[in-house]
Amino acid sequence: MAKRAAPEVNAGSMADIAFLLLIFFLVTTTIETDSGINRKLPPMEESDEDVIIKQKNIFTVLLNGKDQLLVEDELMELKDLRKAAREFLDNGGDGSCNFCKGKRDPASSDNPDKAIISLANNRETTYKTYIAVQNELVAAYNELRDARAEALYGKSFAEMESNYKDVNWPGNKEKLKEKIDQIKLDYPQKLSEVQE
């Protein structure tokens, strides 16, 4: 019996089939946004003891139903908020904070550890304004932490954190964690929220 050569399959339409699949995947692909502002909610427990906080250590930010911003009883534009928050946090009024670069105004916050930002919003406030304000306040903290990290370790805080998360980073992670914690201790994020 003579061995017959198998007839060649016509592959001319392969490109068409591949195109069809390609277009399907092109259309169904959505680039998912998976980044955002991380926050931690306070736990539900009722504390009986009243903590007494001096008025000068609280930086009140009020957002009303018309998306207007009231900071320390004065109307403010969103673009000025970051600077105002920075000045408040970095004030160092009681002199115990030796790295603060603020004005040491005795009427403002004592030190970054005691300084609290209180954010109050109305039910009618729109989400985008709220996010914008959150973003600016977080930015104020991040800028201060960056400056502090730069002064202590010659690297920005953001860089240190991204190194810590990077699996391929060659350095010593435990030491890096200590440094990060030190900076978080110097400028703790104390942001309390109220809804009216």
Partner: protein
Amino acid sequence: MSKFKKKKGGDIPAVNTASLPDIVFMLLFFFMVATVMRQNTLMIENNLPFANQVEKLDKKDLVMYIYAGKPSANYKQYGSSARIQLNDKFADVKEIASFINAERASKREELVPFLTTALKVDSDANMGLIGDIKQELRKVNALKINYTTKKGSVFNNN
């Protein structure tokens, strides 16, 4: 009698398309690998606000998604005020607790403390709804939240 006669007939040879399937397959594989299938069909408008102080959510399987916003054009019958969507349907604020518990039950026990709740909320929603959601989350002790945003300047928001 020139020896260097011009070649007759300017016939352009056909472009060889034999490698076209290879190129298309390459693209196809890229998109197949890069595609993340949507878990939920959105029934709401979901135009996320902008922010630039963002952190990445790295572990996708440890994220619970809560959507909120105005019902989109196809679901007008559900009214025009912002609503919550859990999985594939509209939900009430009270259903958040059971949703969180169901999500927790579906994960391995040692991973439960690392679960994050991602709030994907439309920029025009009002804070009343968000406040209610946050209150519910506090009740079930799901304290790690993430306001999902697009990257960009906050001044783009308005």
